[in-house]
């Protein structure tokens, strides 16, 4: 126990002594992971808002339940077969009421008040992928002729297509930036550790003289890197969560687009980011220690070199 306290104390002393460079390392981790998390949040917002329109779905045909409004049993499968035979249709899939409930739960995950509904009110649907998006008007017209079984026809607008394209462009940009900044964070942590070793070289050489094992000497530096990584990551998670929550609060009531991301999403991704921050910190420390690890025999430059 006293050993752990001693190692932690040594790590804290080192953090305090190199405060400026430590802050720089934490800020770099914060920015890099903040950008990465922002990319994930944007991705999530787009995913939730365009969930139904993924995998190239161009038209969704919501169906009246069989047995209601004079819809005969088997009408859904008959319509599906007919739609699949149309030349303009590349692919058509049947989406049951159970599938609809599952999708609804995904869209409104974490929002208990919205999830408290009767699942049977959600309609079954047919999701259609066209051979050419420009044919959607004609197909929509033909579907609307099937009154009775067809409740409503929804067409993916160009804006959804553009939104999806924009989302992928933003994602690629942000993820590239976060990778570059992530590498910078690891390098900066390595540099911090190297400086810390330099500023504590007397202590390190004395520790070696009195028989401290190499791991015992390394642990405070690894702890230092770990703390830098985790603190940077925690700040990033907090800042992005705060930003996203503020935007969500400011945009409540927007009918077309939902900006809020579930707490569960933040918890899971936040945990992942903290782990990533910790790993980046330890990897950075290992890199910083690498030269020292190779030179583990001598007691360092402070032992007299004359003879």
């Amino acid at each position: 126990m006293s050993r752990i306290v001693f190692l932690l104390k040594e790590a804290m002393v080192s953090l305090r002594r190199n405060a400026l460079i430590v802050v720089a390392a934490i800020v770099t981790v914060f920015i890099s992971l903040g950008v990465a998390l922002t990319a994930l949040v944007i991705n999530e917002v787009f995913r939730v808002n365009t969930l139904a329109w993924q995998d190239g779905v161009h038209i969704i045909v919501f169906l009246n339940d069989e047995g209601d409004n004079g819809v005969p049993p088997g009408a859904h499968q008959t319509l599906l077969g007919e739609v699949q035979s149309w030349d303009e249709v590349k692919d058509a899939k049947y989406f049951t009421k159970a599938d609809a409930w599952e999708e609804y739960q995904q869209i409104f995950a974490g929002q208990d008040e919205l999830l408290d509904i009767d699942p049977t009110i959600l309609p079954a649907s047919i999701r259609i992928e066209l051979t050419d998006i420009n044919l959607h008007q004609a197909v929509k017209f033909r579907l609307e002729q099937q009154s009775g079984v067809v409740r409503q026809v929804a067409v993916a607008s160009e804006s959804i297509e553009q939104l999806q394209e924009l989302s992928s462009v933003i994602n690629v940009g942000l993820l590239t930036a976060s990778i570059v900044l992530g590498v910078a964070a690891v390098v900066l942590i390595a540099n911090t550790i190297r400086l810390a070793i330099y500023s504590r070289r007397d202590e390190v050489s004395i520790m070696k003289l009195v028989g401290a094992s190499n791991w015992f000497i390394r642990v405070p530096f690894l702890l230092e890197g770990l703390i830098e990584g985790v603190v940077g990551a925690a700040l990033a998670v907090f800042a992005v969560w705060l930003g996203a929550s503020s935007i969500a609060q400011a945009t409540t009531g927007f009918a077309l687009f939902r900006f809020d991301v579930s707490q569960q999403f933040f918890f899971q991704r936040g945990l992942l980011l903290l782990i990533f921050g910790a790993v980046a910190g330890v990897v950075g420390s290992m890199l910083g220690l690498s030269r020292y690890l190779r030179d583990a025999e001598g007691t360092g430059p402070d032992v007299p070199t004359g003879f």
């Binding site: 126990m1 006293s2 050993r3 001693f6 007397d202 202590e203 050489s205 004395i206 520790m207 070696k208 003289l209 009195v210 028989g211 401290a212 094992s213 190499n214 015992f216 583990a296 025999e297 001598g298 007691t299 402070d302 032992v303 007299p304 004359g306 003879f307």
Partner: protein
Amino acid sequence: MIRLDQVTKVYEGGTVAANDVSLDIQKGEFVFLVGASGSGKSTLIRLMLRDEPVTRGKIWVAGKDITTLPKWKIPYLRRSVGTVFQDYKLLPNKTVAENVSFALEVLGRPQSVVGPQVEQVLDLVDLADKAERYPRQLSGGEQQRVSVARAFVNRPPIMLCDEPTGNLDPKTSVGIMRLLDRINRTGTTIVMATHDHAIVDAMKRRVVALEDGKVVRDDETGGYEAVES
């Protein structure tokens, strides 16, 4: 306790710092390594501490061949060897007590052991009343006593001292030598490199004289200079 068998150390560039040195040091002995600057005294100390690898030959410390010791085992060797250097090697931002306890803390000794042991050794070096001072608030002699306390606090069977009185005036040097003598009387083997004639002549202990890395004299109770017969 320490045995060197035909030890040779050649530094990069071809400088021969130890040349076919063979020595046998018994448990509880006090041995002076003497010679001019550059004769190889410090190199022998560093070789015994495995701070440098030998070029040829074998060294046994406390019954173990340290020339073939894997790197990860070197710390275990150093735990059984206390070291004192000319420049004290104290940590300026730690108090006297902290400097001494540092040696026990890196070994993972529990606090219940560290406190009393540090107190005891500070009593031995007569610095109990200065336990909370920083090295800069101490004289050279006092700093060296702290260094001796740190080397001895773990009760090592061997102490290696490289010019421990090199920075001290003659009177203070006598104080340090008295301390080392007391430690030696507890059964600790001491090997001390020095070129202080007065100390070597006064102590009347074993003297190993070196010249250009070679042992030129090994007297059981000698003086600094060889006695012409």
